[in-house]
């Protein structure tokens, strides 16, 4: 846990663009909340590999969101069930059900539908919020911490140096 926090702090402190980190975390949210072996996750992997998105942030966030997904599955199930049973949408779902692509995408599964809709709705706000937060962190908190005596002392401490090298 400490390792993960240290790694995450390092990512935040790295020279990576805030958008790369926030995109990594947002994509991890999609892959983590939805069932891993779903067709849309192939697209997530493709985007992740083809574009300069922070992989470390993605992997850390994926572990976090996957764990969180177990708690949220009942919520996603209810959301998915509501959407899939929504009367106005039945014709659309039936047409999609008769399409091989959508059947392979497994859209008719309550958790797939619920989690995907929830994460897609949260995706852009998540990127924007994370961008804002990372920028704020770097300009205020990180600068303040770097200048503080306690951080200077910790950085010079042999114990902390050994601990961080063990973590690495």
């Amino acid at each position: 846990m400490i390792t993960q926090i240290i790694k995450f702090l390092r990512v935040l402190a790295s020279e990576a663009e805030p958008v790369q980190i926030s995109m990594g975390i947002a994509l991890a949210m999609v892959a983590g909340f939805t069932p891993l072996f779903s067709l849309h996750n192939v697209l997530v992997i493709f985007v992740l590999l083809a574009f300069r998105i922070n992989l470390a942030a993605f992997l850390l966030a994926l572990a976090f969101f996957t764990g969180l997904a177990y708690l949220l599955d009942p919520v996603f199930h209810n959301v998915g069930l509501f959407i899939l049973q929504y009367a106005e949408m039945q014709a659309t779902w039936t047409n999609m059900y008769n399409s091989i692509f959508w059947r392979v995408a497994h859209f008719n599964n309550t958790i797939v539908m619920g989690s995907l809709v929830a994460t897609l709705l949260a995706f852009i706000p998540m990127v924007l919020i994370l961008n804002f937060l990372i920028k704020r962190y770097r300009t205020h908190i990180l600068v303040y911490l770097n200048n503080s005596k306690i951080v200077s002392w910790l950085q010079s401490s042999k114990l902390v140096t050994r601990f961080t090298s063990m973590v690495e």
Binding site: F46, R52, G80, Q85, W93, I100, N108, I111
Partner: protein, 592 residues
């Protein structure tokens, strides 16, 4: 361009290349998977030489499939030269195997294997064989007559017993009569009585004192003779009773053979011999063998007839969610083969056929599976056709129907029975066969009609009555009616063979029975003849004794009567003389 990660793109290209390569060589990868799956289904090894996959259109071709027989390690139940089918890729992506057209080319059965087809599991379970083993030990009915020598050797005869008792009685009677005869008047005694009688006759002619003595002797002789006659009468009474009893015993001994014959006939059920249900006995085991074979194959295919897909209950696991099912425009079951063309090269000839609408859930595609297989180049028969319908569209009322028809099939040297009592071979025949069976709600109902024409039976060297009856049979039918569950099938066989054999057998049997009876009578009579003759001879001797006693009695009676006459005459004479003397005296006194 700064935002693109070139290394990642290369990784994607590499992954796509790997995927393409995998698809190109998919045949090699899926071959062991198919072999393993089919082996599990078959219960013995299924070997495949090659699996070819093409993608435009999406086709799979499987060459040289060898399906080992679970019960015979070095034999293939079937060997298929080629199985080719065009798959719907779209349905396959949905986890469904939908085949528009398949062909199964050149099926051969019971081909030899180069290596054992047993798998370890089966080898261990080999000891627990099912009940499909045939039985050549037919228990033939006891229709032939028993051997007379054997019967007479083991059967105690009443005649023998009665004769033995009669002989004992004769011996005792003879001894008793000899004792009685000793005290009866013999010739010396009768001569003595004769001499006394003559003396009395002489004395009567003498003077008065002689006459008086003669009368006294006559009275004494009369008493003696009366006593003798009384003894003779008692002896005669005894002899008469003995002779009556001996005659009755002799009559019973003479009648005993008839009783013995009746008892032997009853014991060996000579009157009950017939040919009823011979067809059941002869063909019952053959039918049981075919039934066991059908049961074995049913056991194998039953799991696939049972609609597992329909019974599948939806999974409602929270972490996996629920799959909501919408109406499908063209619903398809998990497995569907629209049409399969089959060609087979079997020892009985070449066959071709078609199977339509093979489905794992007929309720979805709403059409029954049908198959039709017919012979096109047959060996020793005019036509052969198998057709079947497996209709489980309505799950609650599903059924399987199977029809099998053979026309004019030549039969040569068909072993009907290997029984030592009746080794029977159908040397030649022309057979028509019709089977119609329906399996519904776990119960099998059906009929099998077989007509045999131009039949020639051979019973080898057997001289039994039943075997000889088969020679007259030129045509017969065999009808089977079966019903019940596959595990407890009741089969009833009927045939006009029973009637035909029955008539033939009845005539021969009656003749044989008559001969047997006569022979038995002769043999028993021969056996008893000497004893009876001996008994009759001994009885005749007793008759002679009785006649002799009768003669003696008659003689004594005559003498007794004569003696009585003499005494009476003498008494009358004496009375007259006395009367005359008295008259003379009266005349002289009174001067009359």
């Amino acid at each position: 361009m700064k935002s693109i990660r070139w290394g990642g793109l290369i990784a994607i290209v590499v992954m796509l290349l790997l995927l393409t390569t995998t698809l190109l060589f998919a045949g090699r990868f899926i071959k062991p998977l198919i072999e393993s799956g089919l082996t599990d289904m078959n219960g013995a090894k299924v070997d495949i030489e090659e699996v070819k996959i093409s993608y435009t259109p999406f086709m799979i071709e499987i060459n040289n499939i060898q399906i080992a027989d679970p019960e015979q390690a070095m034999v293939n139940t079937a060997q298929i030269d080629k199985v080719k089918f065009a798959l719907s890729l779209g349905h396959m992506l949905l986890g469904k195997l939908v085949i528009d057209e398949a062909s199964i080319t050149d099926i051969q059965v019971n081909t030899a294997r180069h290596k054992s087809g047993l798998i370890e599991k089966i080898a261990k379970e080999d000891s627990s064989k099912d009940d499909s083993e045939g039985n050549d030990n037919i228990t033939m009915p006891e229709i032939d007559l028993p051997d007379i020598e054997d019967v007479l050797a083991v059967e105690p005869l009443i005649s023998d017993k009665l004769i033995s008792e009669l002989e004992d009685d004769l011996s005792k009677t003879d001894k008793k009569w000899q004792e009685i005869s000793k005290v009866l008047p013999n010739k010396a005694m009768t001569d003595k009585y004769e001499a006394r009688f003559k003396k009395i006759q002489n004395d009567v002619k003498g003077n008065t004192s002689q006459k008086l003595a003669a009368i006294k002797d006559a009275k004494q002789l009369s008493d003696d003779l009366k006593a003798e006659v009384e003894r003779i009468k008692q002896a005669k009474q005894q002899f008469g009773a003995d002779l009556d009893r001996l005659s009755e015993e002799l009559k019973a001994a003479k009648d005993a053979p008839a009783l013995d014959i009746a008892r032997i006939k009853n014991k060996y059920k000579l009157d009950n011999l017939n040919a009823e249900n011979i067809s059941q006995i002869l063909f019952g085991d053959q039918v049981s063998g075919y039934t066991a074979l059908a049961r074995k194959w049913y056991k194998r295919i039953a799991p696939y007839l049972d609609n597992k897909e329909a019974k599948k209950s939806p999974e409602i696991e929270r972490s996996k969610g629920v799959d909501i099912v919408f109406n499908e425009l063209n619903p398809m079951p998990d497995l569907y083969v629209r049409k399969t063309m089959i060609t087979a090269n079997l020892p009985r000839g070449q066959f071709e056929g078609i199977v339509t609408a093979m489905s794992s859930n007929q309720a979805i595609n709403k059409e029954p599976m049908r198959l039709r297989l017919r012979g096109v180049s047959l060996v020793n028969k005019e036509s052969e056709e198998i057709s079947g319908e497996f209709n489980y569209v309505e799950k609650t009322n599903g059924f399987s129907r199977f029809k099998y028809m053979i026309v004019k099939s030549k039969i040569d040297d068909f072993v009907v029975s290997r029984s030592s009592k009746l080794p029977l071979t159908m040397k030649r025949a022309l057979m028509d066969f019709n089977l119609d069976a329906k399996l519904q709600h776990g119960s099998l109902q059906g009929t099998a009609k077989i007509q045999f024409n131009h039949v020639s039976f051979d019973s080898g060297s057997s001289s039994s009555l039943l075997a000889s009856s088969f020679k007259g049979v030129k045509a017969f039918n065999l009808d089977g009616h079966f019903s019940g569950s596959m595990s407890d099938l009741s089969i009833k066989l009927s045939s006009d063979l029973d009637n035909q054999l029955g008539k033939e057998l009845k005539n021969k049997l009656n003749q044989k029975k008559l001969e047997f009876e006569n022979e038995l009578k002769i043999r028993i009579n021969e056996k008893l003849k000497q004893s009876i003759a001996r008994i009759e001879s001994r009885k005749e001797k007793l008759d002679v004794i009785k006649n002799k006693v009768d003669g003696n009695e008659k003689q004594l009676q005559q003498r007794l009567a004569a003696l009585r006459d003499t005494i009476n005459a003498e008494q009358d004479l004496k009375k007259k003389e006395t009367t005359d003397k008295l008259k003379d005296k009266l005349k002289s006194k009174f001067g009359l």
